[in-house]
């Protein structure tokens, strides 16, 4: 019982971290239609900036600087680069961010070298929030989860209760018309992009401390955030949340499955027990890493608009 609760909790918190990273991506895609390949790089930059700032400003200072710094980087990227390719369409934007992700990863190595850096959660935050049976549940995990939830609430309110969400959504398809109605579209776009990047920066500043901070962290996470966003439904915030949680719980739960694909299929009667033991002898527990891709493929085939995405008009 305790194990199940802990497993579920672990899955949920990991899911929330995934949401933290992918919320910015969802926001930028849903609002501006930019599929930002460099988003995971913003996550990485957040971690590195926070790491660099921690030495001077302490842990919390690092978190703040990581978040704001990446927001600023996002702002600069939007103003100096993305803005100029927008008129060539989304594919060009996608390519640009693809190039940026490439450059950012190398840039980090220029400054911080190819190894992981030492950016740990401070001793003062390493305590148990509560315990479930024998398991002391770490406070920092809870903090990550809480931040993600707060983030969701904040973005939700921003989009729901202010006109900004409407303006941005409208401006994606008809920027000129929105301008003609009196809105400063370019300022709003820049701001939105900065917020999206800042969210990734915050996730990086926290995730980098809890997990690791190394030059490959963007590549390792890059694809999975896309999976989250696609499964959730491109541009849907609540979809991203649901997808994050599903993926989080799934990859955590599958570890506990003590059977192989072969056995499973044999049990259903699809293949013979012989085949099961020889050809398909892959323990399901080993597939945690590829499960999200299977899930994505499945979702794309069955419900291409994702869990909560609507069919765009």
């Amino acid at each position: 019982m305790d194990t199940i609760v802990v497993a579920l909790l672990n899955g949920l918190i990991y899911g929330l971290l995934l949401f933290m990273i992918s919320s910015g991506l969802t926001l930028i895609f849903g609002m501006m239609g930019i599929l930002n390949f460099a988003h995971a790089s913003f996550y990485m930059l957040g971690a590195y900036l926070a790491f660099a700032a921690t030495r001077i400003f302490g842990f919390w200072g690092g978190i703040v600087i990581g978040t704001l710094g990446v927001a600023l980087i996002g702002l600069i990227c939007e103003r100096t680069l993305l803005r100029h390719v927008r008129r060539h369409g989304h594919v060009q934007e996608l390519l640009l961010t693809f190039g940026l992700s490439f450059a950012f990863e190398e840039l980090v190595k220029v400054f911080f070298g190819p190894y992981a850096v030492s950016y740990p959660v401070p001793e003062s935050l390493r305590f148990a929030a509560f315990s479930i049976g024998a398991v002391q549940y770490p406070f920092f995990r809870v903090l990550i989860g809480a931040t993600a939830i707060a983030m969701f609430a904040a973005i939700f309110c921003l989009l729901r209760f202010t006109r900004i969400g409407l303006v941005v959504r409208a401006a994606v398809l008809n920027p000129d018309m929105v301008r003609a109605l009196g809105y400063n579209v370019s300022a709003i776009f820049s701001g939105m992009f900065a917020v999206g990047a800042g969210l990734a920066g915050l996730a990086g500043a926290m995730g980098g401390a809890y997990y690791t901070t190394n030059p490959n962290m963007a590549t390792e996470l890059g694809v999975i955030v896309f999976v989250v966003v696609v499964v959730g439904g491109l541009g849907s915030l609540s979809g991203a949340l649901i997808a994050s949680l599903i993926i989080g719980v799934l990859v955590n739960a599958v570890v506990y499955v003590d059977t192989t694909f072969g056995d499973l299929l044999a049990k259903i009667g699809v293949v013979s027990a012989e085949t099961a033991r020889t050809l398909l002898n892959v323990p399901i527990a080993n597939t945690a890493g590829v499960l999200p891709f299977l899930l994505m493929l499945l979702v794309l085939m069955i419900r291409p608009q994702g869990i909560a995405g609507d069919e765009r008009v």
Binding site: L81, H88, F98, A103, V223, V290, L297
Partner: protein, 426 residues
């Protein structure tokens, strides 16, 4: 007039290519091989992207499958099977085609971003499978085989591999060019422009897209087959994201809208990686910057820029290389030099080795050698020079480029056509 120039250029290029083994060393030949393999791969990729407008971000899967299939066939030959060695790439092509047929059928159900994500998912799954299925893919060590001679033809030397690769590259070029010009190629381009319309003209768009996907996978697989012949080995590393990323890079830098664009891109980035990596450890960063700059200022790629100038000459609207181009080029070179200086300085000063050196010199900062020129990192001069070159060069390039830029953009659809259309995914 222009046609004659083109024919002459083509002949000169052909002569140079045929004579290369006599002129270049082993390393040059090998580089040429790798360029051609990358070019064939990029051409295959661009069949899907440039022609059908389908952006695949997981094309390494078909390339890798082609390599593995060819290695297995080479092994079969080595064990006494009979298959003509020169035709080995067809095995890769066949494997790529079959796999592409299945994957393409699934992927092309969707379009746009969704299509791209399906290709990524398929590539990731194949990559995972390759890691887990050691029996087939050889695990970490991979699998290997050896080229066997065929009849009087000897395939042991790099030179012979070069000619084989060259021959296949030409075959692929001709075939793809023919395909592009064929009525079927027209249908494919129609799908890129407006799929819905194509369907209302009576074409089964899904089937057409599946076939194009499979053809593209086949050409990629053929490139994989050429790689197998050249390297005589295959491993799961081939399925990694890097392969899929590089083919996109090659195509974009060269220009997806120009037939020879991918070839130009492949030649540039492959040589850049080849020479760059022995000059600086930060070469991938520079490549990334070149890529971003290309996307920003030459969305049609280098091939597109060349083509625009060629057209300019042909139509008599301007010289092949104008003053603005020269200034732009000079500015770009200057900016790049400044960037390289700054990055090399920063990278070296931040490196562990340098800090260790400082420690062993008891706090003295030794000069940083960049291309054998020593720079004193504690004085402001090298930094200032780098900054000035970077900023000044960019200004020069941008300012000078301004009248030139519209030409670069010449290939895009006019504003009227740019309005969003209903029924099309973003």
């Amino acid at each position: 007039m222009s046609r004659i120039v083109l024919v002459l250029l083509g002949l000169a290029a052909a002569a140079a290519l045929v004579a290369l083994p006599a002129l270049g060393g082993l390393a040059t030949l090998n580089l040429a091989n790798k360029i051609m393999i990358a070019a064939v791969f990029a051409l295959g990729f661009n069949l899907l992207w440039g022609q059908a407008g389908l952006p695949s971000f997981g094309h390494a899967a078909y390339y890798g499958v082609g390599t593995f299939a060819t290695i297995y066939m080479m092994d079969a030959i080595d064990r006494g099977g009979s298959f003509p060695t020169p035709l080995l790439p067809l095995v890769g092509a066949g494997a790529g085609f079959l796999f592409g047929l299945v994957a393409g059928w699934f992927a092309t159900v969707r379009s746009g971003v969704y299509f791209a994500m399906i290709t990524v998912a398929i590539a990731e799954l194949v990559s995972a499978l390759a890691q887990k299925w050691e029996g087939l893919f050889g695990g970490e060590a991979g699998i290997r085989s050896i080229r066997t001679n065929w009849g009087p033809l000897d395939f042991q030397s790099t030179g012979s591999v070069y000619y084989l690769t060259l021959a296949w590259t030409l075959v692929v070029l001709l075939a793809l060019y023919g395909l592009q010009r064929s009525p079927f190629g027209l249908v494919v381009r129609g799908i890129r422009e407006r799929e819905l319309r194509i369907r209302f003209l009576g074409y089964d768009a899904h089937r057409v897209k599946t076939v194009v996907f499979a053809l593209s996978a086949a050409v990629s697989g053929l490139a994989g087959g050429l790689l197998a012949i050249s390297d005589e080995s295959a491993s799961m590393v081939l399925f990694g994201g890097a392969g899929s990323a590089f083919v996109v890079l090659n195509t974009v830098i060269g220009g997806a809208g120009v037939f020879l664009g991918p070839v130009i891109g492949a030649a540039l980035t492959t040589s850049f990686a080849y020479f760059g990596s022995s000059l600086s450890h930060f070469w991938p960063f520079y490549l990334g910057v070149v890529f971003v700059v290309t996307v920003l200022f030459a969305p049609e790629g280098i091939g597109g820029a060349i083509l625009a100038r060629w057209r300019r000459v042909r139509d008599g609207t301007g010289p092949l290389i104008g003053l603005g181009d020269l200034a732009g080029l000079a500015g770009a070179v200057m900016a790049m030099a400044g960037l390289v200086l700054l990055i090399e300085l920063t990278g070296t000063v931040c490196s562990e080795a340098y800090r260790a050196e400082i420690a062993s010199l008891k706090g003295v900062w030794p000069p940083v050698r960049i291309f054998a020129v020593p720079f004193a990192p504690l004085t402001p001069w090298p930094w200032l020079v780098g900054l000035v070159a970077l900023v000044g060069g960019s200004r020069l390039a941008l300012g000078a480029g301004r009248p030139v830029l519209p030409h670069l953009f010449a290939g895009r659809p006019g504003p009227r056509a740019e309005q969003t259309r209903p029924g099309e995914s973003p």
